[in-house]
């Protein structure tokens, strides 16, 4: 038995804190709960960030008899998820002040559980662990979407996402079952060595099922149907959290599963991933063009971004890990900032997600309008913002792998995307609107400011992110050899 439980301190700490919050929730009166719970969650997350940083090993280490494997790729992804959680808490505090819910306590500890699920996903080294952690994350998010009283759109979205998401999960589970049937094990190394020595058509079916499930979770075409409704219907802070952290968790889990384990069939699934990626990149960009609702628009744009990341996955393994991690890093902060600003601008009777409400934004709050330029230009990939570098790394990876035509298609998708990313800026700066401003909450303002500031500073000095991607790649490779 090799439990190696000391490696698991950050996760245990989060579980403990979440349980503590559940207990607190039972005994505390509901008044003032939002402030207290958000502060506790914020503090807990900060401690978890420190713990993850302290317990991140460069040489990969296993725990729970190899069910969990930690390396720097997983540690850095966990940090990304925790940062998302931190900023989500900041945005949520204001949101709950504006739109009260009877389930304040539930909201915050479910958020922690969702983050925990994501954190386990990126370090899973065994199929069942991966599945369970995926479900922990997904189920927490279904709950989060439906927690606001009187918000029927949110409940509808939660139900839709729940039904379709369960099908996605079932497909993954079935794929895992097939793989287990062939290889007789659920541990990555054993599945891997068994596939290496004896690769059959059945294994390919298993891989195809798992891949479909993953494509569903990242919202790639043709499994994207739930995305716009879920993104649109969910309360904005939940959309923010889901948009950023699910992408990180699922993509990193995909890298850690597909590259070491399914490498013998890389030729086959690589092609498929590339095609799904290109189609998603183009489809998302085209579909977003027609949207008048920013959350729907960002949902389609997220399909497009997922497509771009998928094309990067389809390059050579080393390039893929490097550029995918870089992209996820940038995408996390772009998503937080974009949904953060929508949540910030939303008050009763004024929906920040409607483009028409963006009219004359510069007139009432110039600084927010300038931040929105940073955010949407970063999403569009205009230099020198972080989003540009993400796109650039994917481009370099694709061309190094000899895929010039896909590179051109990715760039075309980014050209089409420009057509809608410019819309909010046009409304904010070039159209006149009402003069009186919307009261903005301090904490979500801070979240938007921090994430846009990161987009600028790391855009000017991308070396930091680049180094982070490099060490996570190095650590990942060390673990798979």
């Amino acid at each position: 038995m090799n439990l190696n439980i000391s490696l698991f301190v950050p996760e245990l700490f989060l579980v403990g804190s979440a349980i503590l919050l559940i207990l607190l929730d039972l005994f505390l009166p509901s008044r003032g709960k939002n402030g207290l719970f958000s502060t506790i969650t914020f503090a807990v997350t900060c401690v978890a960030v420190v713990l993850v940083a302290l317990y991140s090993p460069f040489s990969p280490q296993e725990a729970f008899n190899g069910f969990i494997k930690k390396d720097l790729l997983s540690a850095l992804s966990q940090l990304l998820i925790l940062f998302t959680l931190l900023l989500t808490v900041l945005v949520s505090y204001d949101y709950i002040e504006k739109f009260p819910t009877g389930y304040v306590g539930e909201f915050y500890y479910t958020l922690i559980f969702a983050a925990l699920g994501g954190m386990l996903m990126v370090e899973a080294n065994e199929l069942a662990t991966l599945f369970v952690s995926l479900e922990v994350m997904s189920i927490s998010i279904y709950i989060l979407m439906a927690l606001f009283r009187g918000d029927y759109r949110g409940k509808e979205a939660a139900l839709k996402y729940f039904i379709l998401g369960s099908i996605g999960a079932a497909v993954i589970a079935y794929g895992f079952a097939v793989l287990y049937g062939i290889t007789g094990s659920t541990l990555y190394p054993e599945v891997s060595s068994s596939l290496k020595s004896n690769f059959s058509v059945a294994a390919l079916i298993g891989i195809a099922l798992v891949l479909s499930g993953f494509l569903f979770k990242v919202g790639a075409v043709p499994f994207h149907g739930w995305m716009p409704d879920a993104y649109h219907g969910a309360p904005t802070p939940v959309t923010l959290f889901m948009g950023a952290s699910v992408k990180v968790a699922v993509f990193v889990a995909l890298l850690k599963l597909f590259f070491p384990v399914f490498l013998p069939a890389f030729e086959r699934w690589g092609e498929a991933v590339l095609i799904f990626g290109l189609v998603s990149a183009l489809f998302g960009a085209f579909a977003a063009l027609g949207q008048e609702n920013l959350k729907r628009m960002l949902a389609y744009s997220s399909i497009s971004h997922a497509g771009v990341i998928l094309t990067a996955v389809a390059t050579l393994p080393a390039l893929a890990v490097y550029s995918v991690f870089f992209y996820l890093f940038a995408y996390t902060f772009m998503t937080i900032a974009a949904f953060g600003i929508i949540s910030l601008l939303t008050v009763k009777g004024f929906k920040g997600e409607n483009l028409t409400e963006w009219r004359g934004l510069y007139g009432r709050s110039p600084f927010l309008a300038l931040l929105s330029v940073v955010i949407f230009m970063a999403l569009a990939g205009i230099p020198p913002l972080l989003g540009f570098w993400a796109k650039f790394y994917v481009l370099v990876a694709l061309i190094k792998a000899g895929k010039v035509l896909p590179a051109v298609i990715v760039m075309l998708a980014s050209l089409i995307s420009l057509g809608f990313y410019l819309k909010p800026i046009v409304f904010a700066f070039m159209k006149e609107g009402r003069e009186e401003g919307v009261p903005v909450g301090f904490s979500s303002y801070a979240a938007v400011f921090i994430s846009s500031f990161i987009l600028i500073i790391l855009g000017l000095f991308p070396e930091v992110v680049s180094q982070a991607s490099l060490v996570s790649l190095a650590s990942f490779i060390k673990g798979t050899m």
């Binding site: 510069y362 330029v373 205009i382 230099p383």
Partner: protein, 483 residues
């Protein structure tokens, strides 16, 4: 020193953001652009013309070591002239905006300064990726300037400008990465450094592909016929300072790109495709001159005239002769000054009459003699009258064209005649004929000073082109020697 020029406008923009008063913004902008101009002139005097083919004042630092992307800037003869022009025209753009920009002044001048950094950056970058970043970064402030302070169809024009240029540059980025990856496969050294990349000779097949990838990006900017349709929209809708910068500086980025990248990197493809460029250039010269002849909007006349004049530059560049290339560079500078001044004049008239319809003007010469005099001077300069800087540029490009292909030169000369036709025709309709307005205020001191400065330079460099040309001789010889 070059880095200082890049940082100064950023600093000015920051200062404007921090200062509370809307009125003080323009003074900060004036001082900042003035300082940049002083630096540019200092650079001119410290530059060693006998070594104009090599880069001087190089500033160098690692920026993104993991992909070995460098911050590397410096100037050679070509860059020097472009930097001077950029600094000069941005400095002129501030007084041209003085009264024209009535609202959101802080934002305007801050954007103008950001734009200046990006434009200067394009002309001094020695790293391909750095160049691309400045090239793209420039789109945001320029589109905002068109879209916020422009005319009626400003939003359409701003988006068209942004998307059109971005569409061109996606091929540039892909082309650059393909080039660098190929270079890496040869030398094992992954770098975007232009001077390193120049050291390998690319196979012809790759040159052809890359030439067209780069061509699209640069051709949209120049603009080469048939990629010019964004230009009349952008120019007409842009506010005066926007038009001054667009015509004066932005168009030259395209031709600069051809000289800096296409010619040295893909010499064989460049030579091979020169005839196609001649055809496109001649079409631009003649067709757009004819289009300019029938315009009713004063700004459109000058916008189309810009496309026509850039046709001369393109033919000069692709003639691959010393005269053609030197003439083209000189014409770039000269056209910057002249078109900048003409857009300034249109702005002056628009501020007073609130119209750009030529048919609503007339007889302004009697009401505003100073305006009419300067207008005459710049009209003649745009026609290419000997004694003005445009003559030098146009004559040399025609000479270069003649050496490459006689027919091209004849057709270019025909374009000069059409040019004279539309300019003189327009001048007559605006300044002579029956007066259609009752009162018209003549130029004030601010306008007189800025236009006077441009007028002096146009005449001075018309009579003494060697002042600029001396920075280009060694550069051009080396450039052609390497081809």
């Amino acid at each position: 020193m070059v880095s200082l020029m890049l940082v100064l406008p950023l600093f000015g923009a920051l200062l404007i953001a921090l200062c509370r008063s809307e009125e003080r913004a323009k003074w900060i902008a004036l001082v900042t652009t003035g300082l940049v101009l002083v630096l540019a002139v200092l650079l001119l005097f410290q530059f060693d013309p006998s070594k104009s083919s090599s880069f001087q004042f190089i500033d160098y630092g690692h920026w993104l070591p993991s992909l070995s992307i460098k911050y590397k800037v410096g100037v050679d003869g070509l860059s020097l002239v472009m930097v001077l022009m950029t600094a000069l025209l941005t400095f002129i753009a501030v007084p041209s905006a003085w009264n024209y920009i009535g609202r959101r002044k802080k934002l305007f001048y801050a954007l103008l300064l950001l734009l200046e950094t990006a434009m200067l950056g394009v002309f001094v970058s020695l790293d391909l990726l750095l160049f691309y970043i400045f090239w793209e970064a420039m789109l945001v402030p320029m589109s905002l300037i068109i879209g916020i302070w422009g005319g009626e169809r400003r939003i359409y024009s701003a988006l068209k400008f942004f998307i059109y240029t971005f569409a061109g540059s996606i091929f540039l980025l892909v082309g650059m990465v393909v080039l660098v990856v190929f270079y890496t496969s040869l030398t094992g050294n992954f770098t975007f450094d232009l001077q390193h990349l120049l050291s390998v000779k690319l196979p012809l097949e790759l040159q052809k592909w890359l030439f067209w990838a780069f061509f699209i990006a640069f051709a949209v900017k120049v603009p080469v016929f048939p990629f010019h349709t964004w230009l009349p929209d952008a120019h007409v809708e842009a506010p005066t300072p926007g038009s001054v910068i667009l015509a004066g500086v932005l168009l030259k980025m395209g031709t600069y790109g051809f000289l800096r990248f296409s010619l040295p990197l893909f010499p064989e493809a460049y030579r091979m495709y020169a005839p196609i460029i001649f055809v496109l250039g001649v079409i631009a010269v003649i067709y757009t001159a004819l289009v300019a002849l029938v315009q009713k909007d004063l700004k459109k006349v000058i916008a189309y005239s810009s496309v026509s004049h850039m046709g001369f530059v393109m033919i000069g560049l692709f003639s691959l002769t010393v005269q053609g290339i030197e003439g083209a560079i000189f014409q770039m500078l000269s056209h910057g000054l002249v078109s900048g001044a003409l857009f300034f004049l249109v702005g002056v008239i628009y501020e007073r009459l609130h119209t750009r319809e030529i048919s609503k003007m007339g007889g302004l010469a009697a009401l505003a003699p100073k305006l009419a005099t300067l207008g005459m001077l710049f009209t003649m300069a745009n026609v290419g009258l000997p004694g003005t800087s445009s003559f030098v540029g146009e004559f040399l490009t025609i000479l270069g064209g003649y050496k490459a292909s006689h027919l091209t030169a004849y057709l270019m000369a025909l374009g000069v005649i059409f040019g004279a036709a539309y300019m003189l025709y327009t001048y007559r309709n605006v300044f002579f004929l029956e007066p259609k307005v009752l009162s018209f205020e003549d130029l004030d001191r601010r306008e007189l000073l800025s236009l006077g400065l441009l007028a002096i330079l146009v005449v001075w460099w018309g009579f003494n082109p060697e002042f600029i040309m001396k920075f280009l001789h060694v550069y051009t010889h080396e450039l052609l020697g390497g081809v």
